[in-house]
């Protein structure tokens, strides 16, 4: 007995067999089982789940959106806009900055720590329980930091000398952003957005601590 071809059997997944094929299928176990296997295969293909993009996918897309001018660079950006423009994107650097930044921060004066702690407490009051809450907290903290940056920029443009207290204020808003981002990463450890933001916030903080340190060394105290 000649079996039905694979193509014919594959066609019978969608179409009705003709009388001849029906008769064959009723008497040939091999072809009947093959057809059953093809039907299962088709069902399984139709039930394949969606796939999560690899980590870092959004970061690449965001960079492209920005380079093509498809994202408004203003205050309602995704959060990467200010911090990613600083160019601190290397993962290795992130680790170093994390360790370095943390220890540097711990060594900072009580003034800065107190200012930061107050702001952090204020900003992160009510620990977020969901990713949405965390994202909202990050967004608010970033807005505050951007505002501080704008104010600081205006002061500089007016030709005033940099003021240690103003730097501390700016640092406090950055610390609040850092705390919100760390909390977001704790809630959603594999989120590339939060991780990327954390990397860049730490880098920004490190840079600022250096500025503060040099300002102090420059004779303010």
């Amino acid at each position: 007995m000649e079996h039905l071809t694979k193509e014919t059997l594959a066609r019978l997944v969608d179409e009705r067999p003709n009388p001849e094929q029906r008769e064959h299928l009723s008497s040939c176990t091999v072809c009947a089982l093959e057809l059953r296997g093809l039907r299962r295969q088709t069902e399984a293909l139709g039930s394949l789940p969606d796939l999560r993009p690899p980590p870092g996918d959004w970061v690449g897309l965001e960079a492209r959106l920005m380079s093509e001018g498809l994202v408004d660079g203003g205050s309602r950006s995704t959060g990467f806009s200010v911090l990613f423009r600083t160019g601190w994107m290397q993962a290795a650097a992130a680790v170093i900055l994390f360790l370095g930044g943390t220890s540097f921060g711990a060594a900072m004066s009580g003034d800065l720590q107190a200012a930061s702690d107050d702001t952090v407490d204020a900003r992160v009051a009510g620990v977020p329980q969901s990713v949405e809450d965390a994202a909202e907290a990050v967004y608010s903290a970033e807005q505050a930091y951007q505002l501080a940056l704008v104010q600081y920029g205006q002061i500089e443009r007016r030709g005033r000398t940099r003021n240690y207290g103003e730097l501390l204020g700016r640092a406090a808003t950055l610390d609040a952003l850092l705390a919100a981002t760390q909390e977001a990463v704790r809630i959603s450890p594999s989120d590339p957005f939060f991780n990327g933001l954390l990397v860049n916030t730490l880098a920004e903080r490190e840079d600022m601590l250096r500025q503060i340190s040099s300002t102090r060394d420059g004779g303010w105290f």
Binding site: L9, R40, Q41, L48, L51, R52, R64, L70, V71
Partner: protein, 186 residues
């Protein structure tokens, strides 16, 4: 925030809104482009291109279809076009192996992984038709339009693809993989 609001804001370049749309639909977009591409690296490029096209085209979205359907169609078109370019380049640069190497077997490989791996090994033309029809649910008329072939050609490719897929799946069945034996053995 409603989808309509997100879309309106994304049209205006609001990064938060674009990010929210991405979070909502990235797995769907990535799944279809990954399967069409048959390769992780290509898939990431194709997905990015699909999103860029979609964001650019957002002002043309009138809401006649669901946003997910509109986005999905852009992703499919974009991936097919990108794959065509990749194929042309590969032809110019020399023949590519027809199949992608299969990673070593392990007892805990899920059935879905086997399906994905078998899909990756299908010749491109068969893969495109099989994915569009059996995975994504397109009709032969729609596939014919997307691929620029007659619906009959789409059907014929589909039947060949199913047969080839079955052979590939049987070859991928682990010797002691009970799950696969139950699901795929004849």
């Amino acid at each position: 925030m409603t989808e309509a609001t997100l879309i309106r804001r994304a049209c205006q370049g609001d990064g938060q809104a674009i990010r929210a749309l991405y979070e909502r639909y990235a797995p769907r977009v990535y799944a279809v482009v990954r399967r069409i591409a048959g390769d992780d690296d290509l898939a990431q490029d194709y997905a990015q291109e699909a999103w860029i096209r979609a964001i650019r085209a957002l002002p043309t979205f009138r809401g006649d279809a669901r946003f997910s359907t509109w986005l999905h169609r852009i992703a499919v078109n974009s991936a097919l076009q990108a794959l065509r370019k990749t194929e042309t380049r590969q032809k110019r640069e020399g023949p590519m192996p027809e199949t992608i190497a299969v990673s070593p077997e392990s007892s805990d490989v899920l059935l879905g992984d086997r399906l994905e791996r078998a899909l990756d090994q299908l010749p491109v033309r068969m893969r495109k038709v099989l994915i569009l029809h059996d995975v994504e649910g397109y009709t032969h008329d729609e596939i014919g339009e997307l691929l620029g072939v007659a619906p009959g050609t789409s059907k014929s490719q589909l039947f060949k693809a199913r047969g080839k897929m079955r052979t590939l799946l049987q070859a991928l069945t682990a010797p002691n993989g009970q799950e696969e034996v139950e699901a795929w053995s004849i």
